[in-house]
Symmetry: C2
Subunit: 254 residues, 2 copies
């Protein structure tokens, strides 16, 4: 009945064996055992071994070369843009992230915010206004809105150190999102907070983050353009991976 097989599946055994091998002993370019060797070692058929290898090839861990063998693939630049928190992002750049909470409380959803979060206008939202610091210098001013209804007790006690940590604790870590990016001029408040002159250019990033189908966070940030450069890896669609699916034109028609 219950079938509590976990790794009793043979191809998973082989796959995980190979993964471990790659992670521990082998280096980029090293060959992994041939498919027929693996058949013998695990006492399985060739098709089963191929299933295991296929999975790792799709993942980009291995590369096959006909007539030569299968090899550990070079670590690729991760072409998927990641949904990182400010703290993660600054850590990645070798800077120390800091934050100063300017205000935290509840607010009814304005029209544009409501639309972004896909909630009814006027719905109760958590609103955070924060100054982001990197190495103790102002980096960005950020407004964040979250649906209060889905986050009971969010503002009880101290203001959460990190929104993402708090979301994680509730199992609401976003799995996808979208950023819209443009350039703007710092207004007086932003300029004061960022220690720049009003009218100087700032990089404005609006982020919507989703957990499954529902928006869980909307934020608007203004980054000092003299300190912050966004880096975006870009991919061509994998040639073996086909036409664009029914177009889906998401965007910001300006």
């Amino acid at each position: 009945m219950l079938s509590l097989r976990r790794s009793t599946l043979k191809y998973l055994q082989v796959r995980d064996y190979l993964r471990t091998l790659v992670l521990s002993e082998l280096r980029t370019g090293d060959p992994v055992p041939s498919e027929r060797m693996l058949c013998e070692r695990f006492g399985v058929s060739r098709m089963t071994v191929r299933q295991a290898v296929d999975a790792l090839v799709v993942e980009g861990v291995l590369e096959r070369v006909q007539g030569r063998g299968t090899f550990v693939a070079p670590p690729k630049v991760d072409l998927q843009v990641r949904l990182a928190s400010f703290t993660e992002e600054m850590t990645r750049r070798g800077m120390t992230a800091g934050v100063k909470v300017l205000s935290a409380g509840f607010a009814p959803a304005e029209h544009d915010i409501a639309e972004a979060l896909k909630v009814a206008p006027g719905e109760n939202l958590i609103h955070l206004h924060r100054l982001r610091l990197a190495d103790d210098e102002p980096m960005a001013v950020e407004h964040t809105w979250l649906p209060a209804g889905r986050l009971p007790g969010f503002l009880d006690g101290a203001v959460p150190a990190s929104v993402y940590v708090e979301l994680d604790a509730r199992g609401l870590i976003p799995d996808w999102g979208e950023d819209t990016i443009d350039a703007g001029e710092a207004d007086h408040e932003e300029a004061k907070l960022l220690h720049i002159k009003p009218g100087k250019p700032v990089l404005r990033i609006s982020r919507r983050a989703f957990t499954g189908d529902s928006a869980i966070e909307y934020s608007r940030s203004a980054f000092r353009s003299d300190r912050y450069t966004l880096w975006v890896p870009v991919a061509r669609p994998n040639p073996s991976v086909v036409p664009r699916r029914r177009s889906v034109a998401p965007d910001a028609t300006t």
Copy 2:
């Protein structure tokens, strides 16, 4: 010898049949013919059909449900940022792309350009200076550099209408790249070309595009921030698709 097989491979026939079916007749959620049906229809074995279906499942075109069948997957937002040309990008937004070539010629590589293209300083480069138009209004000013040595005859005759078309013709279509994005102030030349005031914010995008290991294009663009907003889909790493290379434990060992 030459084996100019195109779709003589059986699983590709089945795969492409299914793909066509999905693109033309079926809609999201519709079932595709069962594996056994496909075996009969194409006169192939089950494994072959599975290979075809597997490919489409990996691509996200189909979804399998054990016991029920295989179905057309809902169209997903494409979380891979695409390396689109300006023309593609504007077309996607429903605007008409135009271009005005301000200058085209050869120039030795300056240090920073050389570094970006990974060539020796002073190496001969093709340099294009162009004004990008959208619906006949100035949208961006762009400088583009390409290694002249890899593109013989590139500037012979008329200036190419599109760099990407020209690269395509030589089999040098970039397969990946990276953008760096920040905000800046329009200088006098940019301001004049873009019909904005000097000092107004512009979105600066530097792009390096690679074909395989070698950089094939480097460009710097300044977009009018009042007309252009960049939209970037963002993903969390797919949980089913593996740990970051050389770190984490694979899966749910429980």
